[in-house]
Every structure is written in C-alpha cells, then in structure tokens.
C-alpha cells in the first residue's frame, strides 16, 4: 500500500494556491483609470462601437465622417465596430467588464445606462477634457452624464417621444388629431374597423415599454409631477401612475394594438407603420429620418394625449458618446470627441442624420421637412427650457427601476400582471435603488 503522506503537503499547497488566487480576484477593470497605461507614440487606432443605425444609409454617412476625422488627424485611425442595437447593452457591459471594450462607444445617457457604467468605474472621467476643450454642451444635458461629480460622456442627441401617425389614414377616415385619451380611443375604434392596426406596439426587446409608460404618464400628470416622481417626492404606486399604466392594458384588451406586441421587434413594428399597415407608432423623434425615407404618405408627430387634453411630449436627452476607462488611447479618443463638437459637425449631424446635438447649432438655412422642422423647434424649447415637456423615464432612472418597468410593461401587454402590481413593483425598485 502506498504511503498517503506525500499528498498532504500537495493538497495544502493546492488549497493555499486556490485561496491566494481567490484573494486576487474581485476587481473588474477600470476602477482606477490612472492605472491604464497610455500608448502615445506612433500611429494609434481607436475602436468605436455603435449600435446598428436603423437605416444603412446612416452607417455610410458615419463612415464618411470618420474618414474625414482621420484625414484631419493624421496618425489616428478609427475602427468602427457596429453591433445590433438590441445587443449593445449586454455586449458593451460584458466587453467593458472584461477589459476588452471599445475605446469610444455610443450609449444611452442617464443613471440606468451610462450611470450604471460610471458606478462600475467602466467609463473615463472627461471632466478635465471638458475644461480643456471648452465643450459648449447645454447644462441640462451635462447633468445627464454627470455622476459623482464627474462628467463621463458627451451627450449627443436631444429627442422627444410621442406618437407618429399616418396623416393619410386619418384624413381618409376623417379623424382629427386626438385631443384627449377618449379622442384617441374613438380614433382607434374607427381605424380598427378599416382593417388597419390602429397603433403598433413593439415590445419584444422590452425597453420600448419604458417609452410607452413615459408618454402616457407624462401627459397624464404633467411635467411637475414627473419631476416629483423622478426625485422621489411622489410615490410610483400612486393612482396616477396606475391609471397611466392601465391605458396600455386597456388598449391591448380592446384590440387597438397589434396582436402579441411582446413578440414584435422594434424594427418589425416600424415596418408595419412604414407599410401603412398600422396607423400610429408610439416612439421617439430619432425615427423621423427613417420614417421620411421609408413612407409614401404624410406623417404627423403628436404627444400622447392626456385624459383631458392634448398631452405633452416626453423630451430630453437620448444617447451620448463615452470613453472606456481602460483605454490606452485616451488622447486620441478625446480628439475624436472634440471633432464631433464643432458647429460645422453639428450642422452636418442635423442635416444628414437628423441628430440634434446637445449644443447650440444655428439651424437657420437648414433644409428640413415639416416633420423634422417641428422636432427641431421642440428641441430648441427643450434646450432653453421654455417648453412644457415630460420625461423619457428610463433615461433618468436606475437600472433596477428600468428593469422593473420594462418587465412590468411586458407583463401588462401579456395580461400576466395588473397595473397596480406593476406600480407597486416600480415603487419597490425605486426605493431599493435609492438605498
């Protein structure tokens, strides 16, 4: 029989090694960006990750813009990395946490998106870059990318969420622009009888549910109460929130929406609207350019109606551009951001992409369709704070709240839950995330 003695020190060594290795774990990259070694000499390549634009033509425009930047900045090349928009959230978070993320990336602003990355130390502190480059971003927009006193991104898109509608169908059926929820329901009842889907709702990805709740709630309670809800001065399980949620379940049960909204992707939902098979599409102003490119009818853009009035748009800031906390090319990345901050670039973005920058751009002389002109005018009001706008909630709320909201809306649209339960879950998630 073999002696068992030799195994003991070996086993002890294995255990000690394992424990040592365990002790070494625990830090995702980016906790301290000063640790990221910088490569400053020689040609530099930065990887720029964005979600797939709705229209391939936009991607070509972005590529040509990158070429322009590369020409103006010899020695810096930009590798564009385009991934499906619905995967940005998971792919980006996973890559950043593994330390293999892109140097620069487009992502949504607000605590639930960029805020979550900032909290995890995954984004670069751009406070110094703001000072050195004197970037003229609107103050309200800067707030959306400021976490723990650090500016971590460059906001790049002012947007509003409302309802696009097919004017031809409305005219054909003699329907006027709805001035209340009752009007909207009457209009949808009429449209339903004409073999057209009154309102297309796509919620397979889940995030669209945040927009649905935002528009019905903003219009129902107004901007001041929205402020109170966002700031925790009013409870999310209050009757007003329940009523705003109930609207969507009511629409679904009344057959005003397409069948199985939770099985329909955002792209396919939009396709139903483009093809004239759906009369209304509740989504954001970012879709205006694609709508203009894809439809053969006149389109209007209205706020989701309030119970007793025309309602207000949910406005604010959408996406932004951020830098990876562990980038080895911080200077090149900041130069890339700076390139997008000029008046000339702003005009280009407005004209070509219908992206409305979060800094002053003189839009006089820009050729715009009536639809985009309306959005431009509204955006100016959002920027200078003169208009009455609600909020796109998920841009302002933390991850756990958004998760509850998205799942809650899916639950409502599939009759798995009730508005009261969803409201209670929202309040619970809000309280939990505030701790």
């Amino acid at each position: 029989m073999f002696s068992r003695t030799p195994w003991r020190p070996l086993a002890a060594l294995v255990a000690a090694g394992a424990l040592f290795l365990t002790g070494c774990t625990g830090g995702a990259p980016g906790a301290d960006q000063s640790q990221a070694p910088q490569e400053t000499s020689g040609p530099q390549q930065i990887r720029y990750m964005i979600g797939q634009p709705e229209d391939p033509a936009d991607l070509e425009l972005i590529k040509s813009d990158i070429k322009k930047f590369e020409t103006a900045n010899a020695g810096i090349t930009v590798k564009l990395d385009v991934i499906p928009s619905e995967n940005v959230r998971t792919v980006l978070q996973t890559q950043l946490r593994s330390g293999e993320g892109p140097d620069v990336f487009g992502y949504d602003t607000g605590p639930g998106f960029a805020g979550a990355l900032a909290q995890a130390g995954l984004v670069y502190d751009l406070t110094k870059a703001y000072e050195e480059n004197d970037w003229p971003i609107y103050d309200f927009a800067k707030q959306r990318v400021t976490f723990d006193g650090k500016l971590v991104g460059v906001p790049s898109q002012i947007e509003e969420v409302g309802v696009f509608y097919n004017k031809d169908i409305f005219t054909e059926l003699s329907i006027a622009q709805p001035q209340s929820v009752a009007d909207l329901k009457a209009a949808m009842e009429k449209i339903k009888g004409s073999d057209v889907i009154p309102m297309v709702v796509s919620d397979k990805e889940g995030w669209q549910g945040g927009h649905l709740m935002s528009i019905s709630l903003s219009s129902a309670v107004g901007s001041k109460t929205m402020d109170q809800l966002i700031n925790g001065e009013k409870s999310w399980d209050s009757p007003e929130v329940v009523e705003a949620l109930k609207v969507w379940q009511d629409f679904q049960q009344s057959g005003y929406l397409n069948p199985s909204p939770t099985a329909v992707t955002y792209d396919n939902g939009n396709a139903l609207f483009y093809s004239g098979k759906a009369a209304m599409n509740p989504t954001g102003s970012w879709l205006a350019l694609d709508i203009e490119r894809n439809v053969k009818f006149d389109v209007g853009f209205i706020p989701f109606p309030a119970p007793n009035g025309p309602g207000i748009f949910s406005g604010g800031l959408g996406s932004g551009t951020f830098v990876n906390a562990t980038t080895k090319h911080a200077d090149a990345a900041i130069k890339f951001l700076d390139y997008g901050m000029t008046e000339e670039h702003g005009k280009w973005a407005v004209e070509k992409l219908q992206d409305i920058p979060a800094y002053p751009v003189d839009t006089a002389g820009i050729e715009a369709s009536p639809l985009f002109k309306q959005i431009l005018d509204d955006s100016a009001k959002i920027a200078d704070g003169t208009g009455d706008f609600g909020y796109n909630v998920d841009v302002l709320t933390p991850d756990a709240f958004n998760n509850a909201m998205w799942k809650g809306m899916q639950g409502l649209l599939t009759d798995q839950t009730t508005p009261e339960k969803v409201a209670a879950q929202l309040q619970a998630a809000y309280e939990k995330s505030k701790k």
Partner: protein, 296 residues
C-alpha cells in the same frame, strides 16, 4: 523501483491533470463561493461581506423558483424529446441502406450550426410580422393557430424548446447510430424469428445493447438542461416579463445587467449544485451496467 519511488512517480504523473483540475475547477469553484458571500457590484475591489444573505435572498426570491421550474420543464421535455426522436430516427436510418449518408448529414447539420445562429434564424421563423411559420399556417387554413410564438408567456418557453430539440436531436441520432453499429445483428434476427415485434426488438434487444451510450447521451442532455442559456438568451432574453427565464438567464441578468455579481454567482452555484448529483448518479448507473456486462 521502491514503493516510495513509485508513489513519487505517480504523483509526478498526476501533476499535469491536477493542475488542470485546480485551474479549471477548484479555483473557479472557490472563487464562486467567495463571490456568493460578498455584495460585489463588479468594481469594488473590497466588497462587503454579507454572509449567507445572497443564499437567503435566493431561496426567498420567487423568480428563482420560477426560473428553476422552467429549468425542470426544459430538462424533462428537452431530454425526453430528443432522446425519443433520436432513438426512433437512428433505428430507422440504421435499417435504411439507400441514402443513409444523406439522412445522417441532414439530421446532424443543425447540431454543427452555432447556437446563436440557430436562435436568430428561429426568431425570424417565429416572428409574427415576417416569420414564415405563421404564414405557412395561414396558407394551409390554420389561421387559428397563428400567434406571436415568442411573445406569448404560455408558449414562448415551448417555442424555444422546440428549436433546441430540433437542433440537438441530430447529435443524439449520430451517437445512437454509432452505437447501433456494435449491436449484434444475429440477436435481432433471432428475436424476429421468435416473433418479437418492432417495439419489442427495440426495447428488449437494441436498447440494452446500446445502454451505456444511451446513458452517456442522457447525462449530457440532462446536465445541459440545467445550464441552458444561449438559445433562450438569444430568442427571448428570458421574456416576455420573465416568462422564459431559466436559472442561467436569471443569473446573467442579475450579474451583468443589474451589476449584482454576488447574487448572480449564487444563482450560478445553484445550477452547479443541482446538476452534479444527476451527473454522478447516471455515471454510477453507467458503471454498474458496464460491470454487469462483464459479469463482474
């Protein structure tokens, strides 16, 4: 060679394997145990020690039980269906002479496709707006069956399961076909002469002879049922409203989308703890059968 020298040589020879076990099993396991007792958000290098809080939350979290129940459905249906389909088709192909190669290729092809690609393609097939499944149903007059397959909380899990069964059955068929090559054909012929019908021949003659392989495939399928993730994540993301959540997707959501790595790791540990006994039990059964075969 002395016994001591033999022992030393034995230890020396096991070191490479031991190193692999430590790096790929012991270390990740200890690491996971560590994360399960801290409140780690993915960045804080010195996360707060929370003791058994993550475990208590896991056992009191209704979504854990819901996800686990989906895992159980996946394991039962997702194991039984490919095993039955695989066995029946492999026996049919085994007795087929013409075009057997083509059948093998056709059935095995889905298995070699990447899971992500399968998930994406089947998502298109199920799509209520542009998917061909609903269109095909309408074309043959089955309009009543048209629905949003992946958006219906009562159906979504089964729709994804159907895809997984389609993809996995090919693997089962090929493995069973390989096992059937070693079957004693004379025994089959003798049983036929004795009047055994097809089902009896399958049950009493074929199945016992391929039992070790059958159990090996069963183990792989069962354990895979606990750790299922990719196809559900791609096709539904665990939705709508968590309807298709399994422990794998729930763990991922908690760890990487809500930055609750401690809790996500605890859920992942549950998957491991649940799947190990199954694997061990079937492995033992397999050994016992092997010993019976050798008359030991």
């Amino acid at each position: 060679m002395t016994r001591r020298a033999q022992a030393r040589l034995g230890i020396l020879l096991t070191i490479p394997v031991l190193a692999l076990v430590v790096v790929f099993f012991v270390f990740p396991m200890i690491s996971a145990l560590y994360f399960s007792v801290v409140d780690f958000d993915g960045i804080d290098p010195s996360p707060e020690f929370v003791g058994l809080a993550n475990f208590i939350e896991m056992f009191t979290d209704p979504e854990t039980w819901h996800a686990l129940s989906n895992n159980v459905i996946w394991i039962i249906v997702g194991t039984a269906a490919p095993m039955i389909i695989g066995l029946l088709i492999s026996v049919l192909i085994w007795t087929t002479r013409r075009g057997a190669g083509i059948y093998r290729l056709a059935f095995f092809l889905p298995f070699v496709l990447p899971g992500v690609a399968i998930g994406i393609v089947w998502t298109w097939i199920y799509d209520p707006v542009s998917g061909w499944l609903n269109r095909a149903l309408e074309a043959v007059g089955l309009d009543g069956l048209v629905r949003g397959w992946l958006g219906d909380p009562d159906l979504a899990l089964y729709a994804v399961l159907a895809t997984a069964i389609w993809a996995y059955s090919g693997f089962v068929i090929i493995i069973f076909l390989s096992a059937l090559r070693n079957v004693d054909v004379e025994l089959v012929d003798a049983s036929r002469i004795d009047g055994a019908n097809a089902l009896q021949r399958l049950w009493f003659i074929l199945l016992p002879q391929i039992m070790p392989v059958f159990l090996m495939v069963l183990t792989l399928t069962l354990v895979g049922g606990f750790s299922v993730f990719d196809i559900i994540f791609i096709m539904t993301g665990g939705g709508p409203a968590d309807a298709t959540n399994v422990l794998g997707t729930y763990s991922y959501t908690q760890a990487f989308q809500l930055s609750r790595i401690g809790y996500g790791t605890t859920l992942a540990l549950l998957i491991t703890v649940l799947s190990i006994p199954f694997a061990v039990a079937i492995n033992r059964l397999q050994r016992r059968l092997a010993l019976q075969d050798t008359g030991a």
